[in-house]
């Protein structure tokens, strides 16, 4: 499927620069609201060498380097961190744009999203009449966000980040399964559809209370921060996210989304995508679907629909 030229999606990435960290959630909300985008991975990177990082990220860009040098000067003055958001774009609109040395292939859908975000969150220019197309009047060009133009750039950048398989890393081992599976799980040869009691499920929860190392602790659903936050209104889940989000938890999680999931009516909750589990000694370990399990338990369901990877 990945190699098919007819596949209806492309992979892209957005980079939220350090000057926009205060608006991260708002920017992510914009991306979440886009009907044709699916956020796959959100990753915080600390930049030791900004020059190298910029040359890496723009290494596969098609525009002349001298233009880029002038364009990214402000990045040396912002916080040396960036949030990388990898997305699946179901509305690819790649077309050649620009003239001469600036001619390049660019997805117009992704570009438009990027421009909208820049218009909203780029710092304002001291001169209110300042304008460089395509941004609005009064908006500076100290960009808060960067995006890939084409999938080739995503492949290149992933390889730079150390994912040797490039864009195939995001595509994962998808063998046309009859259910949704996150990219990081391997496609099993055998899987079983079954209904499992929630009390037999255990989630792997990140735990740093032992000292230096962060460990994954098998935890029953009623003990997870997800369930505690939903059931008793504690701040366990937000604390958990604050600790590990974008570093060890690279999926698109937020308290707002969990609450939204919990607010669904019971029929929709019963019809959730199946939770992916694997059998351990005397329990089932959740590979994907801790949030769904927590919401189901919060609605007093005793069983959930699962797929067991063998």
């Amino acid at each position: 499927m990945y190699t098919s030229p007819l596949r209806p999606f492309r992979y892209h990435f957005f980079t939220i620069w350090g000057n926009a960290f205060a608006h991260t959630d708002a920017i992510l909300d914009i991306l979440r609201r886009e009907p044709f985008l699916q956020i796959l991975r959100i990753e915080l990177v600390s930049i030791r060498n900004m020059t190298k990082f910029i040359s890496d990220i723009y290494g596969c860009d098609f525009v002349p380097p001298e233009h880029l040098n002038a364009k990214v000067k402000y990045l040396f003055t912002v916080k040396p961190q960036a949030i990388l958001v990898f997305v699946k774009n179901y509305n690819p609109q790649e077309m050649p744009v620009g003239r001469g040395a600036f001619r390049k292939l660019q997805c117009q859908y992704i570009n438009q999203i990027k421009i909208n975000i820049r218009n909203q969150y780029n710092p304002r220019h001291p001169d209110k009449s300042f304008r460089i197309h395509p941004l609005h009047r009064g908006v500076s060009h100290d960009h808060v966000i960067h995006s890939s133009d084409s999938e080739e750039q995503v492949d290149y950048f992933l390889k730079i980040l150390g994912h040797k398989s490039g864009v195939r890393y995001l595509h994962g081992h998808t063998g046309n399964l009859p259910f949704e599976k996150p990219y990081y799980l391997h496609t099993p040869q055998t899987y079983i559809y079954r209904i499992i009691m929630i009390e037999r499920l255990q989630a792997l929860i990140l735990n740093d209370s032992h000292g230096k190392a962060v460990t994954l602790t098998p935890t029953s659903i009623c003990e997870t921060p997800h369930y505690k936050a939903l059931k008793y209104g504690t701040d366990d889940y937000t604390t958990y996210l604050a600790k590990f989000r974008y570093t060890l938890l690279t999926q698109d999680y937020s308290w707002k989304r969990l609450k939204k999931l919990n607010a669904l009516n019971i029929d929709k909750i019963k019809a959730f995508e199946r939770i992916i589990v694997t059998k351990e000694h005397d329990y089932y370990k959740i590979l994907d679907g801790v949030h769904r399990a927590a919401v189901s338990l919060n609605h007093n369901l005793k069983h959930v629909r699962c797929v067991e990877f063998c």
Binding site: G175, Q189, T190, I192, Y193, R194, I195, R305
Partner: protein
């Protein structure tokens, strides 16, 4: 014991050909299998899963084993096999011979709709059914003696015209992979000329020198290592 409604299941799949249909179909004994040829394995699998979700998921489990050329879908009740649906989408699993892809297409082109009760199911044309059975016999008869039943089934056919069509069909679509004799590498051919003999001497002496050097160096390394132990 609950049974999977095979007629309803096949109606869900739509694009299939039921091969080796048993006499008791749509009933079946526990643990038996139903072989289906499908053009698009993913779509067929999706539809079986959909059937399971709407008719069987409260009672039992569904085990899917995806393999090259075919896919086993087991309906399990209390952990025991109720019925196995075998989706075949390629004849590549035959190892004794290979079958042209055209046969697959012919089976679908010539499939027949037969009435079973109030519904109907797709089965292959008679000559295709015989050919499939014959292929299965050829592939497995030396390992599984029960496959002889396929040969007996074919031998029982009285219709001479059908027999003729079966032979034509089989010979048209089967491809035998002929074994080729390969000259063992250690047999050296006698040189046909002085020049070829000299070339051999040159090659052999190079080979002797290279092997001797390698042997000697490995010995030196071993001695050196032992000295420092």
């Amino acid at each position: 014991m609950a049974q999977v409604d095979l007629i309803k299941l096949l109606a869900n799949i739509e694009d299939y050909v039921l091969i080796k249909k048993s006499a008791e179909f749509p009933n079946y004994s526990l643990g038996s299998d139903v072989d289906l040829l499908v053009m698009d394995k993913d779509t067929a699998l999706q539809r079986v899963v959909h059937f399971y979700e709407s008719h069987f998921s409260t009672n039992g489990q569904l085990r899917v084993t995806d393999q090259e050329y075919h896919c086993h879908i087991d309906f399990l009740l209390h952990g025991k096999l109720n019925v196995r649906i075998d989706l075949l989408y390629d004849f590549g699993f035959f190892t004794m011979f290979s079958v042209k892809r055209g046969f697959f297409i012919k089976i679908f082109r010539d499939r027949r709709l037969v009435k079973i009760g109030n519904s109907s199911v797709y089965i292959p044309a008679p000559e295709d059914e015989l050919t499939i059975r014959y292929f299965e016999y050829l592939e497995y008869f030396d390992r599984y003696p029960n496959k002889l039943k396929h040969l007996e089934y074919i031998c029982d056919v009285k219709d001479q015209l059908l027999r003729k069509r079966f032979f034509e069909n089989t010979h048209r679509f089967v491809v035998f992979s002929r074994q080729q004799w390969k000259q063992p590498y250690h047999i050296s051919q006698k040189p046909k000329s002085i020049r070829a003999a000299l070339a051999n001497i040159n090659l052999n002496s190079k080979c002797i020198i290279a092997l001797s050097v390698r042997h000697l160096s490995s010995k030196v390394v071993t001695i050196y290592r032992n000295m420092w132990r």
